[in-house]
C-alpha cells in the first residue's frame, strides 16, 4: 500500500475529514503502518499507552477483563480509532484490543497526535464529537442496565 492509498483511507475517517490533504500526508508519512496477525494483541489492558491506532483494514475485538473472565465488549472495523483514551489522559489502557482478522493499522504516537490536535482545532472538535457520541451511547447503556436491574427486583 503506498502513501497515496493510505491518505485516501485516512481521509474517509471522520476525524480527519476537514484536514488539508498535505497534513494528512505528513501524518501518514511520519506514522508507522502496522500489520497484526489474527490473535495478536494491539494493546493490553493496564499497559501504559503511547499511541492510538487507526484501523485501515480488518477487524479487532475490544476485550475487558471482568471478575468473571474476559468479555468482548465491541468489535471495531475499518475507519475506527482505538487506544485514543489512554493517550488523551494518562491512564493505563482501559481495554485489551485483539486482532480478529489480519489487521492493518496506522499507529499514531502521542506526540504526533497532540501536535495534530493542537494545530487543527477542527480535529479537536471532531474528537469531542466522537467522544460525546460514545458518552451518549454509554449513558444509554447504563440506563438500560439500571432498568434491567430494577425489573429484576
Amino acid at each position: 500500500m503506498s502513501l497515496k492509498e493510505e491518505v485516501e483511507i485516512l481521509r474517509q475517517i471522520p476525524l480527519f475529514a476537514k484536514i488539508e490533504p498535505s497534513k494528512i500526508k505528513l501524518l501518514a508519512f511520519t506514522s508507522e503502518r502496522l500489520t497484526f496477525q489474527p490473535d495478536d494483541l494491539v494493546c493490553e489492558q493496564g499497559d501504559n499507552g503511547d499511541a492510538a491506532y487507526f484501523i485501515m483494514a480488518g477487524e479487532a475485538d475490544v476485550i475487558v477483563e471482568t471478575p468473571s473472565g474476559p468479555l468482548t465488549v465491541a468489535t471495531l472495523g475499518k475507519n475506527d480509532v482505538v487506544g485514543e483514551i489512554a493517550i488523551l489522559i494518562d491512564v493505563p489502557r482501559t481495554a485489551t484490543i485483539k486482532a480478529k482478522t489480519e489487521l492493518t493499522t496506522l499507529k499514531i504516537t502521542k506526540d504526533v497526535f497532540f501536535r495534530m490536535v493542537t494545530e487543527f482545532p477542527e480535529m479537536a472538535v471532531e474528537m469531542m464529537r466522537v467522544l460525546a457520541e460514545r458518552l451518549v451511547r454509554t449513558t444509554d447503556d447504563l440506563q438500560k442496565a439500571k432498568e434491567m436491574i430494577r425489573s429484576d427486583d
Binding site: M1, S2, L3, K4, E6, S22, K25, L26, A28, F29, T30, E32, R33, L34, T35, F36, Q37, D40, V42
Partner: protein, 884 residues
C-alpha cells in the same frame, strides 16, 4: 630513591658516563688538528711561508701542489673523524639518556603501585600524570651530557687558555679576568630563577589537576551553570603561571645580558691594554691579533658551559621535585609486591585481629583497638551505623590499608607482613564502585588471574631475536622483562585445568552475578574474524540455515523478515543497500553518500538508471517539500523522517521551482548530485513513496550484479558482499544469523524474530559461543560502554573467578535495585557456603542468611554472633534492625 640527581646518574650509568668522557677526550686531538690544519694549508701549502719545497715526510718527497693535496686530504679526514666522534658521542648520549629516563619513569610508576591508599586522596591523576610523562622528559637529555659536556667544553676552554698563556700571560689574565665576576653573579640570579622554576612546576601541576577536574566533573558544571566560575578559576591559575614565567624571563634575559656584556668586555680590555702595550713596544701586533682570535674561540665553550649550568639546575630541581612527590610516608616495600612464595598458603582456621588501630590523615581515630576473631569458613556480615569504621575494617582486612598498629592473623599467616602474592590471590575485595579497565570484558574478568607470566610463549627466528633484544633492554634499565604476550592465567588459582575449563567457569560466574544475558546481547552485536574463529563462523552459518527453516515453516513469521537474496530486490532495505548488497568496509562506500562515489555513478550510468534516479530524486524532493515546508526548522520530524535536512530544504525548494521535471538530463553538476543522492535513501516498505516500480527494482538488481562483477581490485576490500553461504566478517553475529532485514510494518516483528533467534540459539546450544564472543567486547575508558550495574557485576565476577579463600564485599551491591540485590546476595551466599565471605552491609535485616554478624560502633566491634542469637539478646542489633 637517590635524592641527588648526580648520585642517581652515577649509580645507574657510571660505566656509560666514563665511556662518554673518554670518547670526549679522545676527540680532542682530531678537533685540535681540525682547527690547526687550515692555518697550515694557508700559510705553508698555499703561501709557502716558513717552508721549503719539496718537503719530505716518511721518506716521500712532496712538491707544493702535492703538499697542498696532502694537507687538504688530511683536513677532509679530520672532518670525517670529527663528525664520526660527534655522531658516536651524540648517539651514545641519547641512548644513555633514554635508558635512564626509562628507568626513572619505570621506577616512579612502580612507586605509584606501592603508594599507601590514603595518598590518592591527596594526589590526583592530574598531578601525577604530568610528572611521569612531561616533567621528567628533559632529564633524559641532561643525563646524557651530565659529565661529558662539562669535561669536553671545560677541556676545550683550558686548551685555549693554555694557548693564550703561552702567547702572553698578561693577555691571558685579561681574557679571563671577568670570568670570576660571572661565576659569582650568575649563580645568584640563577638561584632566583630556580625558585621561580619550582613554583612554576607546582602551579602547572595545579593547572593539570584543574583540567582533570573539569573533565571528570563536566556533568556538574553543566547542571549548575558553573562554567563561568570554572573559567575564572582556570584564568586565575593561568595568570599565576604567567606572572611567574614573566619574572623568569626577566631574570633569564638579565643573565643573558650579563653574559654577553662580560664576554664583550674582553675585546675592550684587549684593545685597551694590548693596544697600550703594542704602542709601548712590549707586545707584537701579531700576538695581539692571535690573542683576540683565541678569546673569540673561548666564547663558544664558555657559553656552552653556562647553558649547561642552567640546564643542570633545571634538571636538578625537576628531579628533586618529582622524587619528593614519590616518597609518601607508609609506602610498601618493593619486595612486598615482588616476592613469589614457593607455596601460596590456604587461608584457613581462624582470622584473629587484635588491637587494630587506624587513624585518618587528620589524626582522628577510625579504628580504636579493634579486636575480633571468627572462623574462616563462615559467611560474615559487618553492620554498624555510618562512621563506625565498617568500611575501613574491610580495607584493613583486604590489606588495602596498613593499620597503624595491631595484629592480623589468618590461620598461621601473618597478614600484616604477608606479600601481595598471598593476600592479593587469596583475598578478593570489591568496593562500591569497582574499576573496569579499558580492554575487553574477558580481560577484565580474568584480571585477577594474571599475577605472573605462567605459560611462556615460545619464539623462533626473528621473533626470538626481537624478544631477546626486548629482554636485554628491559634488564639494562631495571624494567620488567615479563612478556605481555605470555599466558598469565593462573588456572590453578581459579581451580581449573586449562583455558576451556576457565571459560566454562566464567560462564557459570557470569550467570551467578546476573551478567550473562548482557554479555550474550553484546556478543550478538559483536563482529568476529572468521579466519581466527572458523568454528564460531561455521556455527553461525548453521544457525542461519536453522532460522531460515524456522521462518519458512511458520507462516506468521514468514513476512516478518526479508532475507537477502541475490536475485531479489529487498523492499525493507534502502536502495543504497540493495545496490551494494553487502556491508561497507572502511570509508570508500558510505551508505549515506553513495551518490558521490565515482564507481557507483559509473554502475548506475551503465545500468541506464541515471535518468530514473534523477526522476525519483525529483519526485522525492517534491514530496518532501510538500510535507515539510511548513514545519519549523528545528522540528524533530526532519531528523526522524526527513530525506532532506531543514538546512537544505530551501535549496531544494529553489531547485524544484527552477528546474523543469522534463529536462533533468541537462542539470548543473551540483543539482544533479543533490537529486541523485535522494533515491539511495528510499526504503520502499518503510517510506511507501511509490517511486520504485518493479521495473526499476529489477534494474537495480541487475546493477547490483554488475557492481560486484566489475569491482576494481583496489576496491575489493571495501565491501563485504552478502552471500547466503558465507560468513560476513563486516557485520555482527545477529545480522549474520538473521541474514535479512526485519520487515517494517509488522507488529512485534523484532520481538518475534528475536524469539525465533533465541529458540535457535537454545536448540543449537549456541549461547556459550555467543557469550564467548561477547567477552571480546571492548568496554571503553573506565568501562564507559557498560552501564554502572554491568560494571559492578563484572567486578564481582572478577573477584569470584579467582576462587579466593576470603571474599570481602564493601556495600558492593548497594547501587543495584532491591530485586537484583536480593538475587545476587542469594547466589553469592550460596557460592560461598563453607568459605569465608565478609560483607559490609548498610541494612541489618539483610544479615538474616549469614552465619555470623559483627556489629561495629565507634571503631570497635561491640558484639558478634549468629544473627538468630543476636536477634534474641543483642540491644545494638535490635537497634540497627529497628533503624533500617
Amino acid at each position: 630513591m637517590e635524592h641527588n640527581i648526580y648520585k642517581y646518574i652515577l649509580r645507574y650509568s657510571k660505566k656509560q658516563q666514563v665511556i662518554l668522557t673518554i670518547m670526549s677526550i679522545l676527540s680532542f686531538p682530531a678537533l685540535y688538528y681540525y682547527l690547526e690544519l687550515p692555518k697550515i694549508i694557508i700559510n705553508q701549502a698555499i703561501q709557502a711561508n716558513d717552508i721549503a719545497f719539496p718537503v719530505e715526510y716518511a721518506g716521500v718527497e712532496f712538491d707544493q701542489i702535492a703538499f697542498l693535496y696532502l694537507t687538504v686530504g688530511l683536513f677532509l679526514l679530520m672532518v670525517i673523524v670529527n663528525q664520526l666522534f660527534k655522531y658516536m658521542i651524540n648517539v651514545y648520549q641519547g641512548i644513555t639518556g633514554e635508558r635512564m629516563l626509562r628507568r626513572l619513569r619505570y621506577e616512579l610508576y612502580c612507586r605509584i603501585l606501592r603508594f599507601p591508599m590514603p595518598t590518592f586522596k591527596k594526589k590526583s591523576p592530574g598531578e601525577i600524570i604530568p610528572m611521569i610523562t612531561s616533567e621528567v622528559e628533559p632529564l633524559g637529555g641532561f643525563i646524557g651530557e651530565a659529565f661529558a659536556l662539562p669535561i669536553f667544553q671545560g677541556g676545550y676552554l683550558l686548551v685555549i687558555v693554555g694557548f693564550l698563556v703561552v702567547q702572553n700571560w698578561i693577555m691571558a689574565v685579561a681574557a679571563i679576568a671577568l670570568y670570576p665576576l660571572q661565576a659569582y653573579f650568575i649563580p645568584i640570579l640563577q638561584k632566583k630563577v630556580n625558585l621561580l622554576g619550582k613554583t612554576r612546576v607546582r602551579l602547572v601541576r595545579v593547572l593539570s589537576d584543574q583540567l582533570g577536574e573539569a573533565v571528570s566533573g563536566v556533568e556538574e558544571v553543566h547542571a549548575h551553570d558553573a562554567s563561568s566560575n570554572m573559567r575564572a578559576h582556570f584564568s586565575n591559575q593561568l595568570d599565576k603561571i604567567y606572572t611567574v614565567r614573566y619574572r623568569i624571563y626577566l631574570l633569564k634575559f638579565v643573565i643573558k645580558f650579563l653574559n654577553n656584556f662580560i664576554q664583550q668586555l674582553g675585546p675592550f680590555f684587549f684593545y685597551g691594554i694590548g693596544g697600550t702595550m703594542v704602542i709601548n713596544g712590549t707586545l707584537e701586533v701579531g700576538t695581539l691579533v692571535a690573542a683576540i682570535g683565541a678569546h673569540k674561540e673561548m666564547a663558544a665553550p664558555w657559553k656552552e658551559l653556562l647553558a649547561y649550568y642552567q640546564r643542570r639546575e633545571d634538571a636538578r630541581i625537576k628531579y628533586e621535585q618529582v622524587i619528593e612527590q614519590f616518597e609518601p610516608a607508609g609506602m610498601r616495600d618493593a619486595d612486598n609486591q615482588l616476592i613469589e612464595p614457593e607455596e601460596i598458603p590456604h587461608l584457613e582456621g581462624e582470622l584473629v585481629a587484635s588491637n587494630i588501630e587506624l587513624s585518618d590523615d587528620t589524626g582522628s581515630k577510625i579504628l580504636e583497638g579493634l579486636s575480633t576473631r571468627f572462623k574462616l569458613d563462615e559467611r560474615i556480615a559487618i553492620i554498624g551505623p555510618a562512621g563506625s569504621g565498617r568500611e575501613s575494617l574491610t580495607h584493613v582486612l583486604a590489606r588495602l590499608i596498613d593499620p597503624d598498629r595491631g595484629r592480623l592473623m589468618a590461620g598461621n599467616v601473618n597478614m600484616i607482613t604477608a606479600p601481595e602474592a598471598i593476600v592479593g590471590r587469596k583475598i578478593s575485595y570489591v568496593g562500591q564502585h569497582g574499576y573496569v579497565f579499558n580492554t575487553t570484558l574477558g580481560e577484565n574478568l580474568f584480571f585477577g588471574l594474571k599475577h605472573r607470566p605462567l605459560h611462556e610463549k615460545s619464539y623462533a627466528g626473528d621473533e626470538e631475536l626481537e624478544r631477546n633484544t626486548y629482554i636485554k633492554n628491559a634488564e639494562l634499565t631495571g624494567n620488567s622483562s615479563d612478556d605481555i604476550e605470555a599466558n598469565w592465567h593462573d588456572y590453578k588459582l581459579a581451580g581449573v585445568a586449562d583455558e576451556d575449563e576457565l571459560n566454562a567457569r566464567a560462564l557459570d560466574i557470569l550467570e551467578m552475578v546476573d551478567l550473562s544475558e548482557d554479555v550474550y546481547r553484546l556478543g550478538l552485536r559483536s563482529t568476529i574474524n572468521p579466519e581466527e574463529a572458523p568454528e564460531t563462523a561455521e556455527l553461525v552459518l548453521a544457525a542461519r540455515r536453522r532460522v531460515f527453516e524456522k521462518i519458512e515453516n511458520n507462516p506468521s513469521l514468514k513476512n516478518m523478515i526479508e532475507a537477502f537474496e541475490r536475485n531479489h530486490y529487498n523492499t525493507n532495505a534502502s536502495v543504497a543497500e540493495n545496490l551494494l548488497f553487502g556491508t561497507p568496509v572502511g570509508e570508500e562506500f558510505d551508505l549515506d553518500r553513495m551518490a558521490e562515489n565515482e564507481y557507483v555513478q559509473k554502475i548506475i550510468e551503465e545500468a541506464g538508471l541515471t535518468e530514473t534516479f534523477l526522476k525519483m530524486g525529483y519526485q522525492v524532493a517534491t514530496l518532501m517539500i510538500e510535507l515539510f515546508a511548513d514545519l519549523p526548522p528545528d522540528h524533530e520530524f526532519f531528523q526522524l523522517y526527513g530525506f532532506i535536512s531543514s538546512d537544505d530544504l530551501p535549496e531544494y525548494q529553489a531547485m524544484i521551482s527552477r528546474i523543469d521535471s522534463e529536462r533533468l538530463d541537462n542539470l548543473r553538476e551540483e543539482d544533479r548530485l543533490r537529486f541523485m543522492s535522494l533515491p539511495f535513501k528510499v526504503i520502499p516498505s518503510r517510506h511507501r513513496l511509490g517511486v520504485l516500480t518493479d521495473d526499476i527494482e529489477e534494474k537495480i538488481v541487475a546493477a547490483r550484479h554488475r557492481f560486484a562483477e566489475e569491482l576494481p581490485p583496489h576496491l575489493k576490500d571495501s565491501v563485504a558482499f552478502f552471500d547466503a553461504d558465507a560468513y560476513n566478517a563486516a557485520t555482527n553475529l545477529q545480522d549474520n544469523i538473521l541474514f535479512g532485514k526485519i520487515a517494517f510494518g509488522f507488529a512485534q516483528a523484532t520481538e518475534k524474530i528475536g524469539a525465533a533467534l533465541a529458540e535457535v540459539v537454545e536448540e543449537m546450544s549456541l549461547r556459550s559461543t555467543i557469550i564467548a564472543v561477547g567477552l571480546n567486547f571492548t568496554v571503553g575508558t573506565a568501562g564507559a560502554r557498560l552501564n554502572a550495574t554491568q560494571r559492578q557485576k563484572l567486578c564481582i565476577a572478577r573477584a569470584i573467578i579467582k576462587n579466593p579463600d576470603v571474599l570481602i564485599l564493601n556495600q558492593t551491591t548497594s547501587g543495584f535495585d532491591t530485586a537484583t540485590q536480593a538475587r545476587l546476595m542469594k547466589s553469592i551466599l550460596n557460592e560461598f557456603k563453607g568459605r569465608c565471605l565478609i560483607w559490609s552491609l548498610d541494612h541489618a535485616e539483610k544479615t538474616a542468611d549469614f552465619d555470623h554478624v559483627l556489629i561495629m560502633r565507634g571503631g570497635r566491634i561491640v558484639e558478634q554472633g549468629s544473627p538468630q542469637k543476636l536477634k534474641e539478646n543483642s540491644a545494638p542489633y535490635k537497634e540497627l534492625l529497628a533503624a533500617s
